[in-house]
Amino acid sequence: MAEGPVRSGDAAGTETGGRRRVSPLRRLWYLLLVVQFPAVLVPSFYARETPMVWGIPFFYWYQLLWVIIAALLTLIVYLFTRERGEASPSTERVTAEVSS
């Protein structure tokens, strides 16, 4: 990025940005988001008719089931990586005022 303009905002940005960032260990939770990609994007896992449930072939109920699993995974990641978790309470208050 040597050709880019001098961006004097950088230094200040890093300082103020630090408090909001999620700690590296907590970022591991993001790995949960990866699981759903192979689970639903590799059709050879589930392009089968059996086992059926209530007459619904595996191909169809497997994918519908994954809608729920994927939503739960996202929810878990959300709960464990909440950006405001460690932020000062004032952030929340200001936000509320601004957007009201």
Binding site: M1, G13, V40, A71, V98
Partner: protein
């Protein structure tokens, strides 16, 4: 299809619900009233103040359109398992939204960006690249709006309202004129408010449908087995299957993944994201929006229910309306049809607003009217939204609906080509602006060509025959042309970035700081400013003290 004429009860319920919604649209101007609607932040983004609840309805109403509710079961009705790609597609989209969209939201809020192109301009310092993204967005969205009309049209047709001759399109024009009027006056607040009604109706109809219809048809087991028999009996040229065969698996997953990459590049989806009041709202929504995906999966199964119910239509878009008419009492069919029609109004309004924002911010102001005030920007956008809607109606009436289906297919391929400029830009400045522009061009050309070269034997179409391309160069596979084009796009971006680096071609100026992408809504919005501030002086430093 059997023509049964107009059923008064059905039409009366439809008209009543439609009137209520129009009233809501006009009243929305007072909802969360702004001091001054005459700027794009208010008109075009609803003040960037929608919370989790409103955003859920708005985005849900936005990306799960009426056309989806007609076309996905129509696809399942026609070709079977391939149509179910909509489910993995709308599953993998949410981790992407969860990770990517908060960054876009933050940087756009920080820089007063209203459109994805605004961001591209700020980040890559190239108004040409921003123009390319804006034009792609508008061109890809137009046929999408037209398709919402196809959704309304198939409902009107099933109700027997469509007359003959010049009157044929009158109900459609009337519906759209009303929509245009309240979008003009209320901006994004109108679809946001109507989305509540739309989604309540859709959820109700679908839940009733997936319980009541199987009860009448003898259970899910029977529905699936008759679909199986029916699909197996189709000629091979129809390429129908009950379970995805090995040869179509690449098509299935590239279609799902490619569509997922594409969806949140559409201007209307980004508009819905930017209208949220915070990053947290977007992240939370990524966890709760899959409720709509589940709904979509159930809706897809309506295609099989139509088969089991013996619905026999050549225009597959009529399969679901026809199924409803056969299965439901007339009053409930009225409600179901209203749900589909109102389901078209919400996305159509947001799409028109998003295109208008793009036109104003990235074409009109930078190239024609550099000194526009915020009030003037809003005025231009409002007129542009009218023009977009008129264009969409003309599309349907003058050209054939089939043409807009073709274009919509292309639209998806095209919008996907803006992915590197927008999403790569959110994470890194490594890629050169001219490389991104060249990649975009390469993707557009190859994608368009592949979509054009796809025949459809069953429908006797030589071109634009579907979303699956038969690749024959150095190996053979079937895949979504948009996805192949994106791979070509990315390859060009990579190679040319290295070339431009070696040649020391200067990069564009970047007006963002790393912190801009993490910004919470801790600051009051800056006074609305015109494009001049967005283009800005790249070296301009905002006072750091103001942030904490």
């Amino acid at each position: 299809m059997p023509h049964r004429g107009i059923v008064p009860v059905e039409l009366a319920i439809f008209a009543a619900l439609f009137t209520i919604v129009a009233g809501l649209g006009f009243a929305a101007v007072r909802w969360r009233r702004a001091q001054n609607l005459a700027n794009l932040d208010e008109w075009g983004l609803g003040g960037r103040a929608f919370g989790t609840f409103v955003t859920w309805f708005l985005l849900g109403g936005d990306v799960y359109t009426a056309y989806t509710f007609i076309a996905i079961p129509a696809l399942v009705y026609g070709v079977g398992a391939l149509g179910f790609y909509a489910v993995p597609y709308t599953i993998v989209i949410y981790p992407l939204v969860f990770l990517i969209m908060p960054r876009l939201w933050s940087v756009c809020r920080r820089h007063g960006a209203v459109t994805p192109s605004d961001f591209v301009r700020v980040r890559h310092g190239s108004s040409t690249l921003a123009l390319a993204v804006a034009v792609t967005g508008i061109v890809a969205t137009m046929p999408y709006i037209a398709l919402q009309l196809v959704g309304i049209q198939s409902v009107l047709q099933s109700m027997g309202v469509a007359g003959t001759g010049w009157q044929k399109d009158l109900p459609l024009i009337l519906a759209f004129a009303i929509l245009a009027a309240y979008t003009y006056s209320s901006g994004l607040r109108a679809p946001a408010l109507i989305a509540f009604v739309k989604d309540a109706l859709i959820y109700m109809v679908v839940i009733v449908a997936v319980i009541y219809i199987p009860l009448r048809l003898g259970g899910y087991g029977h529905i699936f087995s008759s679909a199986h028999t029916h699909l197996a009996a189709k000629p091979k040229s129809a390429q129908a299957s009950f379970i995805i065969p090995p040869g179509s698996q690449a098509a299935y997953w590239t279609l799902a993944l490619g569509s997922a990459f594409a969806l949140f590049m559409y201007p209307h989806a980004i508009t819905g994201v930017l209208a949220a009041k915070g990053r947290d709202v977007i992240r939370r929504n990524a966890a709760i929006l899959p409720a709509y995906t589940f709904l979509l999966g159930l809706i897809a199964l309506l295609g099989y229910m139509a088969i089991a119910a013996g619905v026999n239509v050549t225009n597959t878009n009529l399969a679901v309306p026809e199924l409803f008419q056969r299965m439901f009492p007339t009053w409930f069919t009225g409600i179901a049809f209203s749900a589909i029609a109102i389901g078209a109004l919400v996305p159509a309004a947001i799409m028109a607003i998003a295109s208008a924002n793009l036109f104003t911010r990235n074409i009109w102001v930078p190239f024609l009217d550099r000194n526009a005030t915020p009030a003037r920007e809003a005025a231009v956008a409002k007129v542009a939204s009218l023009a977009v809607k008129a264009g969409a109606v003309a599309f349907i009436i003058v050209l054939s609906p089939q043409f807009s289906v073709n274009l919509q297919l292309l639209g998806g391929v095209w919008i996907l080509q803006t992915f590197p400029a927008i999403v790569f830009g959110l994470y890194t400045r490594f890629f050169h602006r001219w490389a991104l522009l060249s990649g975009w061009l390469a993707g557009m050309v190859t994608g368009t060509w592949m979509a054009y070269a796809t025949p459809n034997v069953a429908k006797h179409q030589a071109h634009f025959g579907g979303s699956v391309y038969n690749w024959h160069f150095l190996g053979h596979f079937k895949a979504y042309p948009g996805f192949i084009a994106l791979c070509i796009n990315v390859a060009v971006v990579l190679v040319l970035t290295l070339v431009f680096m070696l040649l020391r071609v200067p990069k564009g100026a970047d007006a963002t700081t790393p912190d801009d992408f993490e910004e919470e809504a801790a600051l009051p919005l800056p006074e609305p400013v015109g494009i001049s501030a967005v283009v800005g002086d790249p070296g301009k430093v905002r006072p750091a003290a103001g942030r904490s």
